[in-house]
Each structure stands twice: as C-alpha cells, then as structure tokens.
C-alpha cells in the first residue's frame, strides 16, 4: 500500500528517475530508492535522515534549485528535481 508507483509521479534524484507514490515524502522516496547519503557534513561525512520530523536538518537537500530543504517535510511532486550531497553549510 505504501510502496509501489502510483499516480504516475516521476521525480529525479541526482538525475536518476524515481517513481514514488503520491503522498510520499521526498525523504521516504529517496530511502525507498536506496539513497542514504542526503548531504555531506562539515567534515565531508555522508549524513541521512535522523529525526524524520523537521527538527535535525540532517536530510536537507536541494529541491528544484532551492537549497537546504528538509526532505522529510516536503511531499514528492511530478517533475521534482532533487540534488544530494550539499556541503554542510
């Protein structure tokens, strides 16, 4: 029910197409596609979601050109483009 492509949403994460179900958060969609490194820390370590509710900012990514968006608070949308690996700023 929670998995599997529905509603025909296509989003791209670092150029790779994903087909998340409607109502999925960007963070959940990325995890489902096997992406665990969302950003790079100040020292260059990979980081992924921790709190899942917008507190920790560890899941921040660039969405449609806007940096530092919390992937756990944004729902997927058709045509959305996500970039990971932003430096720890």
């Amino acid at each position: 029910m929670a998995d599997g492509p529905t509603a025909g949403i296509v989003m791209h994460v670092d150029g790779v197409a994903m087909h998340p179900g409607a109502g999925t958060s960007v963070a959940a969609a990325m995890l489902n596609a096997g992406t665990w490194g969302f950003r790079r820390s100040v020292r260059g370590e990979p980081r992924g979601p921790l709190c899942g509710m917008g507190i920790c900012h560890e899941c921040r990514v660039t969405i449609d050109g806007i940096a530092h968006r919390r992937a756990c608070l944004v729902l997927v949308a058709n045509g959305m483009r996500v970039e990971t690996g932003g430096d720890g700023a």
Binding site: M1, A2, D3, P20, G21, A22, G23, T24, S25, A27, A28, A29, L31, N32, W36, G37, F38, S41, V42, R43, E45, P46, R47, G48, P49, L50, C51, G52, M53, G54, I55, C56, H57, E58, R60, I66, H68, C72, L73, L75, G88
Partner: protein, 450 residues
Amino acid sequence: MSASNREFDADVAVIGAGPAGIAAATRAAEAGARVVIVDESPNVGGQIWRHRPGAAAPTGAIRWLARLERSGARVLAESTVFDLHRDDRDGFVVAFERAGAPGELRARALVLATGARERFLPFPGWTIPGVIGVGGAQALLKAGASVRGKTIVIAGSGPLLLPVAASLVHAGAHLALVAEQAPARRVASFAVGLWRRPAALRDAVRYRAGFLRVPYRLGEWVTEARGASVLTSVVMTDGRSSRAIPCDLLCVGFGLVPNTELPRHVGCSIADGVVRVDDRQATSVQGVFCAGEPTGIGGVDLALVEGEIAGLCAAEQGGAASSPLRARRARLRRLAAEMDRAFALRDELRRLPTAETIVCRCEDVAYGALYRDWSPRQAKLYARAGMGACQGRVCGPALEFLLGWDGDAVIRAPVTPTLLGAMCGREGDAPSVARVPSQPGNRNAPMRDE
C-alpha cells in the same frame, strides 16, 4: 464581535497541529472564536497522528480531525513559524514562511502547542546513515518509507519503543531486538502499577502483541554503531557483556524533549525544561497559553485535555477549565510522572561518547572539543557546538544530559532557519493570512489548498 477585533486576523492563533493544537483550535472555534492553526507539516495530526493524505487517520484521531473540520478553525499547513512577538495593539504577530514566501498573521491570543522531539544521545557511530530516531522511523514509515525485509534494531528508552516496534513488524521488517535501557526492576514495578490504568495497560499489551516474536530486553543499551557510508551493525550491552548485531537500520531515541523554543522566544517562564502554566494552561505571558508536551511530556491523552482547556480559556479570556477536564488532567499528569521515573536514563549512557564522537552533528563538533565547565553559550562561541541548522535542538538536550548544562539559552528570531526573503519580505511581498487561498464561500473552512 467588537470593532477592534476586525484588526486581527484571528482571535486565537494556535501554533502546532498535533493533538494539543487540534483540541485547542477546535474548542476555541466551537466557543465562537476566529481561529487559525499553523503547522509546518503538509497535514494536520502532528507526529502521533501523522498519516498520509488519503490514508485512513489513526482511530483516536478520526473524531478529533472531523470535529476540527466542523469547528470552522482555519488550517495553515506547510507554514513554519520563525518569529512571534507582541504587536502594538494588545495582540501578537505570528511570522511564518510558507513555500518560500513570507506570511504574517495577527492574533489576540496564542496557544502554543509545539509538541516534542526525540532526545538523541551521542555514541560512536551515531552519525552513520541508517541510524535514525525511533519516532523518526515511525514518521518516515508514515511518510511512505518501506522497511520490508530490512533487519532493524530498536534501542533506547521509553514507551514509544513499543508502538514503533509493532509498526515496523507490521510493515514487514525483520526486527532483531528491542532494547530498553531502563532496568527490568523499574519497568516491572511501573507495569504492575498499570492495573489501575486500564487504557494504558491495554495499549501496552496491544503493542507488545504486535512484535511478540521479537525479544524485548530491559536493561540493555547500544554502545556503538558500525559502518562506513551506511550502517552495517550495532554493538549492544547489558553492562556485563557486549555483542554485535548485524542490521540495516538502528532506531534509537532516549525519550522525548519538549519543544520550548517558541514559548521561550515570546518570554514564557520555564522551569525544569518545561513551560510553566497555571490551572487555565496560561503561561507567564498575558494572552499566551500552552498545551501538550511543552508543559511536560505526557502523551496524547494529556495533550488533548490540556489543549481543550487552553482553547477554551484562550477563546474566552477569563474563562475557566471545567472540573471534569481538570480532574482528567491531574490523573494523566500522575501517570506521566510515574513513566518519567520508570524510564529515567542510566548513568552509563553518559559514558558512551568518546573524545572523537561528534556531539554537534550540524557543525561536526567532537565531544573532546568541549569543556565541562563551559556554558552552552561558550560552547557556541568557542567550539560552534549548537551553531548549525538545527540550532542546538539535537545537541542541546544531549549536552544537558551529558554535562548537566542548562538548556535555557536565549532564543532569537528566526527561531528556525528561514529564507532571507521570507524574513525581510517587502511590503506587498508579505501576505497576511487573508491572502492565503481559502475555500470559496466559507471563510473559516479548513484549508487544504494543493
């Protein structure tokens, strides 16, 4: 409605749309107040009632969500409040960011229902992707994450471990272990006392039944997470011997921490880390009420009762809470205090981080870079601990536990990272709540304006 009322966008602005905020907004609107409820999530429900759009809401939530909708309170979703201050007309200005654009609303009274977050404690490897919160796992699951076939360890403390364990098993995960740090003796005596609290007992039994095949160990905790770019195993101990468990995910959390940033920012008095409220849920600031976890961790039922009282009192300045509500609140507060004692954190957890362990994840500050006799402010100035994007929301409570630091630092706007454009939006850029689209013909309709 008096003439001056029209200068305000709302009689009552409720910040946070979890159970406390929903109950407050509903009761205030039912009492005839014009109510706006603001939340940063796409959907109302907060953390505990979080559900996907279109999916069925949790049973306990359905009645309240329907009642909120009928009440006429307006919902402003996906709106992150970054500033609250008194305006010059005996009310408050709530400044928020919504989809990158600034927004502002003026209200006569405020109900702060900002909820709680998880307490994370640093240990070697806790920054490796695949180490997530217990509530974090629940939130991601409800947001559509799949855990089918994943091997998962749950470790930490508190009643939250049980429902999350049940959810993960239900979602097809292979749960290897659920480890509660509190000693068996304390948890057992709490559980025995539950016979007097049938509802809480029923919940506990139901959740445990949801992961019956998985061991629930008391007096066991995580000491290390291992892996390079992703988690591969965790090390568990009971204080005598240790063992490594291979896993894909570690869900870890050590109880909840009240979100007191907005109450502190607007000047509410805080004691022992929680917002001080009187019998009417009124804070020390005139016109500001507070309900739910910020006044002390107590769970959904207590949050609802406090929300109801806060909403009623905020709607009718000078109103008083009914005695059945007050009695229920007192009973639930006693249960919360018992839970607090049962799941108190053990000393050994203070010795988990090494000098190299990162404590501030935003700025990559190692534990060894901090000095015990510093204040949180000195840690910010000298080591940048707490200076990053989360503004100390993660490392603050951890350092409070590890070093006994007082978390009550000054909170300045923006209370959460905010686009510069939203903060200094020019005249014309800054819509009042009136510019946010609403359903035609019904000024007070809850807004779901996708």
